[in-house]
């Protein structure tokens, strides 16, 4: 069970949080203009990489705020935590 540094509350147990899947998938502004394939890409296709993955997490049993996490899926080390709307760290 890992520790997550909530950008609003500080470091807390993983059990206080819930994962929300891959981050930085923006809901299309004009869904009606997308083909089935384009919509399916948004709806279903998610990365599952070994290494650094950008994920959405929510401090569900805390401040209930969503934020982003850069997590190494091979060892669960969290490299960065940043707020919604912020760009993912580059290093």
């Amino acid at each position: 069970m890992f520790l997550i540094n909530c950008p609003y509350c500080g470091e807390r147990e993983q059990s206080e949080f819930k994962a929300g899947g891959e981050a930085h998938i923006v809901r299309p502004k004009q869904p009606t203009e997308l083909s089935d394939d384009q919509w399916a890409e948004y709806l279903f296709m998610r990365k599952n990489i070994k290494g650094i993955q950008f994920e959405r997490w929510i401090h569900i049993h805390g401040c209930r705020k969503w934020f982003n996490v850069a997590r190494d899926t091979s060892n669960d080390v969290i490299k960065a935590v940043y707020k919604m709307g912020e760009k993912p760290p580059t290093n």
Binding site: R27, P31, T32, D36, W39, I58, W66
Partner: protein
């Protein structure tokens, strides 16, 4: 007469404190400090149990938590009974009762022993191969296999003991209080680190603490005396917490560890009352020091499992720690120097050692010389090829080893004995290290896996790191700890440590025999009865991966997780296949290191504390009025209110009829309620519901359907516009939390520009729903100041009102299809409003109804229940609810998915009504619907989702999903049941009052 093998007093055992205990019904005694194993051995009892598969007699093999054989059942047939307990770990107490497992009628005469003679036809995979066909016979096989499988018996009564969980936060956790752990803990604590030292045993000091020989010295003191002083010192250090009888079960990522602390298991029952038995420690440590030690390896030869065969180190421990001789005629068999330490030690206590068999041909060390000086015969270059003695070893047969170690040569020599100590060298206990994600490397010179790469801030020291002797330990441990904790100096600089131990070793994984391997029984996994020949068979049959061989042969799959034999299994695979040990890898070590009781795992979360449950403010009234309850999510909801003598069916029929004939009352407080405010509230609802919300007038209510982005129905409920920028949304009872979460998600991540605020108010309001033709009469008397005329207060509208001084919100909305009102009041007034409705409704026979009647009534009206009539594959179109999907809105959650190629298919499963040919035949929910029963395979068209007998329509009604069902109105279909076929007709899902006359009455 029992023989007493207590040899010489030990300071760890208090011979003035006699303890009586029972084993297999017979009373014995031991002393305070004894384990069950040491006390049994002192009474010359080796035979403790029968093996799992062949029911071979088995004895005590080790003196620690790695014990594979001596597992017993404690306190049989009582609520405190516990199976599969290792006799080597049980500390005896007055009143202890232990019995053998896996034998019938007794451990001395076990009918299952016949399996031993059948062993040639019971190889690895026997069950898989034999009970495969005919498939229909499996049910019969299974009965007998289950009956004969398993070791101990689980308790049948509730556990009377108390357990708890506790969190520990520290700077440094040291696992293992052997010499390395004690040095490490002292250095850490003295340098200001908040340190916790844990050990599974009741005493500190590991194996060094009973090391009384002149051959192992630290600063010119005998190592045990030196360590004794160190232990006394660390006990005084303030920021060092020491926990004995505490076994680390799991080492997770981020240095999060679980440990079991035994608090009472060593005490008699009369001292345990109302105290906590075991504690699960949840430890978070900034740094972890693994000092978990090492386990002695057995040697693998024919019949290496007889009672009386122990690890050499165990014999040493029984003699030195407990003062118990394991035998009167001991023989030792080794591939390294360890047994000489045992031999010298036994000799000094006057315990006879007949001979030592050493598979090394040319060896020489101070220890060997000393042994030979003591007139103990050492056979160098020999191996044991067989043993005899059914319930206790009485003879070993030895032969010379060929130069390459592959063959047993020369003539056989027999040596009589009653105990054989074996040593195959040492295996670092890296279980916790690998659990944490650490990677091992293989050290060729002594054939051991040692820690290589760490996954977190931790270090392995001492023998679990492959430094086995005290001179290596005293050299490496202080140095490594200094570096690990970034400190300059320790108390352990320039120590003089001396060990006479010669590290040479002749590692042969499977020792040769003069017999064909097929005729031998060389056990690798003692608990699961897996032999070297089983492993070889698996390899012949094509298994290659260690994980596959493990599962096929069950090697390492016992409660001991193969702590003794796993290395040999690997070695045999490596030798047979010609692959390198380092490349084979190991099987995965999984938590727990030693088994945990269920009590420890659940802690206080038992009985009513197992899960939280939620009660409505009216709950007590339901209880008083004998309601039966149903769990809906975490809620306890009134299900139905049986009158005396009524069955559930009777009660539901009566309640349903009353609600339509006159008046019914339902506690709807559990419905999720979300308060929505903000200037963009209307726009927000437009985006989350399928229908349009901008034009909803203040004071009006509207039903809404919420989809997932994939177009599937997610939740539904009525939302009311309280003011220009203020709505109250209701959700399903079970969906309240997830709906709020989903709405928050969109607001925070997709539409942060919207000015909308959400507040869950589910618990703040109680909701009393009154329905039926007389509901208006009742509610207008409960709230006399309100105008209830249809013009002023029509269906789907809302009014603020007052009942006396109590403010309330009244909605005229209906889930039953009847004229109906929902009165929302502050939760604390819920019960009094309910009681007032009951009192006023008396003259109208107002009838409280539960969730079952609610379901029946809404089904008559064809209203869906999300989660019952839908699963995550139903669109609103599938539900025949096209009317609620706005064509005008540009976008809402899930809109785009409603015209994906898959969702516009006409042959999707669609919701329809189902009527049975026989009006009294009530369908089973979940039953499959087919058109042609003779087609092969039979094509499943769908299934029944809701089914009831309607007392108002006087016939059976059902809802179901049927492929292409919308176009099948009037078509006849079949529901095949186990012993009959039911004829049904597809119907409109609205069975009652399609014109909404009742609603608007």
């Amino acid at each position: 007469m029992t023989k007493n093998l207590r040899v010489k007093s030990s300071k760890f055992v208090d011979e003035t404190y006699k303890i009586y205990f029972k084993f297999n019904g017979k009373t014995y005694h031991g002393y305070k400090g004894d384990t069950l194993a040491s006390a049994l051995l002192a009474n010359d009892i080796h035979l403790v149990g029968r093996s799992f598969k062949y029911h071979r007699p088995r004895g005590i093999m080790t003196a620690g938590s790695e014990e594979p054989n001596a597992i017993v059942q404690l306190h049989k047939n009582t609520s405190r009974t516990e199976p599969n307990v290792r006799a080597t770990e049980v500390e005896i107490y007055e009143g202890l009762e232990a019995s053998s497992q896996n034998c019938w009628p007794s451990v001395n005469f076990d009918i299952g022993g016949i399996n031993n003679f059948l062993s040639p036809i019971l190889p690895a995979g026997f069950y898989y191969k034999t009970f495969m066909w005919p498939a229909s016979f499996w049910k019969k096989y299974e009965y007998f296999i289950r009956k004969s499988a398993g070791l101990g018996k689980s308790p049948t009564e509730p556990d009377p003991d108390i357990y708890e969980h506790r969190y520990i936060h520290c700077d440094v956790l040291v696992i293992g209080a052997g010499i390395s752990g004690i040095i490490a803990a002292k250095i850490a604590a003295k340098n200001g680190f908040k340190t916790v030292l844990v050990d599974e045993k009741p005493y500190l000091g590991g194996s060094t603490i009973y090391q009384n020989s002149e051959y192992f010295k630290i600063n010119n003191q005998i190592s045990s005396s030196w360590l004794d002083k160190e232990i006394n010192e660390i006990k005084k250090i303030e920021n060092l917490e020491i926990k004995t009888r505490t076994s680390v079960a799991a080492f997770h990522g981020y240095n999060f560890l679980l440990a079991r602390e035994d608090l009472l298991d060593h005490l008699p029952f009369n001292q345990r009352n109302n105290k906590i038995r075991q504690r699960l420690l949840k430890i978070r440590s900034k740094k972890v020091i693994n000092a978990t030690g090492s386990l002695e390896r057995p040697l693998i030869f024919d019949n290496n499992d007889r009672p009386g065969i122990l690890l050499s180190s165990a014999i040493n421990k029984y003699a030195n720690l407990y003062g118990v001789a394991c035998g009167k005629k001991n023989v030792l068999f080794t591939n390294n120097d360890s047994v000489y330490e045992t031999a010298i030690s036994l000799n000094s206590k006057g315990i006879n050692v007949e001979a030592i068999i050493d598979n090394r041909e040319e060896v020489d060390s101070k220890l060997i010389k000393e042994t030979e000086n003591n007139k103990i015969k050492v056979y160098k270059g020999y191996t044991v090829v067989n043993t005899s003695g059914y319930k206790r070893i009485n003879k070993v047969t030895i032969m010379q080893l060929s130069k390459d170690g592959q063959k047993a040569i020369g003539s056989k020599i027999s040596i009589n004995c009653d105990c054989l100590g074996i040593s195959g060298g040492w295996t670092p206990a890296v279980h916790l290290f690998t659990q944490s994600g650490g990677k091992l490397k293989f050290r060729e010179e002594d054939q051991v896996f040692i820690p290589n790469k760490y996954s977190s801030d931790q270090i392995s020291i001492g023998s679990c790191n492959g430094d086995f002797t005290i001179d290596e330990i005293l050299l490496s441990v202080p140095k490594n700890i200094k570096q690990f904790l970034s400190i300059k100096k320790t108390d352990f600089e320039n120590f003089q440590a001396h060990s006479s131990f010669n590290k040479s070793k002749r590692n042969i994984w499977l020792l040769p025999s003069d017999k064909n391997i097929g005729k031998t029984m060389p056990f690798v996994d003692f608990q699961n009865d897996a032999t070297a020949k089983d492993i070889k068979l698996a390899l012949r049959e094509g298994f290659r991966s260690i994980e596959h061989v493990k599962r096929y042969t069950t090697t390492g799959m016992g409660t001991d997780q193969g702590k003794l034999g796993n290395m040999h299994a690997l070695g045999i695979i490596s030798e047979t296949t010609g692959s390198k040990m380092g490349e084979l890898g190991t099987t995965t070590f999984r938590p727990p290191y030693t088994p945990l009781t269920f009590g420890t795992i659940v802690g206080r979360n038992v009985g009513e504390y197992f899960d939280t449950f939620r009660k409505t403010p009216i709950h007590d009234w339901h209880v008083r009025n004998k309601a039966e309850f149903e769990n809906v999510g975490q809620w306890k909801r009134a299900w139905y209110y049986p009158k005396s003598g009524e069955s559930m069916h009777d009660a539901v029929q009566r309640e349903s009829k009353a609600a339509r004939d006159s008046a019914g009352i339902l506690d709807a407080s559990t419905l999720g309620k979300i308060d929505i405010q903000g200037t963009d509230a209307s726009e927000f609802l437009n985006r989350v519901y399928t229908n349009a919300w901008s034009k909803l007038a203040i004071g009006k209510c509207r039903y809404g359907l919420m989809l997932n982005e994939d177009g599937m129905v997610y939740d539904d409920g009525v939302t009311t516009r309280l003011a220009e920028n203020h709505y109250i949304m209701t959700t399903t009872t079970g969906g309240a939390a997830t709906v709020l979460g989903k709405l928050e998600d969109y607001l925070q991540t997709e539409w942060p520009e919207l000015d909308v605020y959400l507040t869950s108010v589910t618990d703040h309001y109680a909701t009393v729903s009154v329905c039926g033709p007389n509901s208006k009469q009742i509610v207008s008397k409960v709230i006399p100041d309100l105008n209830f005329s249809n013009e002023s207060f029509p269906h789907m509208s809302f009014k603020n009102a007052k009942i006396g001084k109590i403010k309330c919100r009244v909605m005229r909305i209906s889930f039953t299809g009847e004229h109906s009102y929902e009165i929302n009041v502050q939760a604390s007034y819920g019960k009094s409003v309910w009681e007032r409705c009951m009192e006023i409704g008396k003259e109208f026979n107002i009838t409280p109804y539960g969730t079952e009647t609610m379901h029946l009534l809404r089904a008559e009206k064809g209203f869906i229940i999300v989660g019952q009539d839908t699963d995550a594959t139903m669109t609103p179109i599938d539900l025949q609810m096209d009317w609620i999907v706005s064509k005008k809105k540009y976008d809402f959650i899930g809109k785009r998915s409603l015209y994906r190629s898959d969702t516009i298919r006409e042959d999707r499963k669609q919701l329809v009504g189902l009527l049975t040919e026989d009006p009294d035949e009530v369908l089973e929910e979940g039953a499959q619907i087919v058109a042609d029963i003779n087609k092969s395979p039979v094509e499943m068209l769908g299934h029944v989702t809701s089914s009831y007998y309607s007392p108002n329509l006087k016939k059976s009604i059902a809802l179901g999903v049927v492929r292409g069902g919308k176009k099948m109105l009037g078509q006849k279909l079949i529901i095949p049941m186990e012993n009959k076929k039911i004829n049904i007709t597809v119907a409109d899902p609205v069975f009652l009052d399609k014109e909404n006359k009742r609603l608007n009455a």
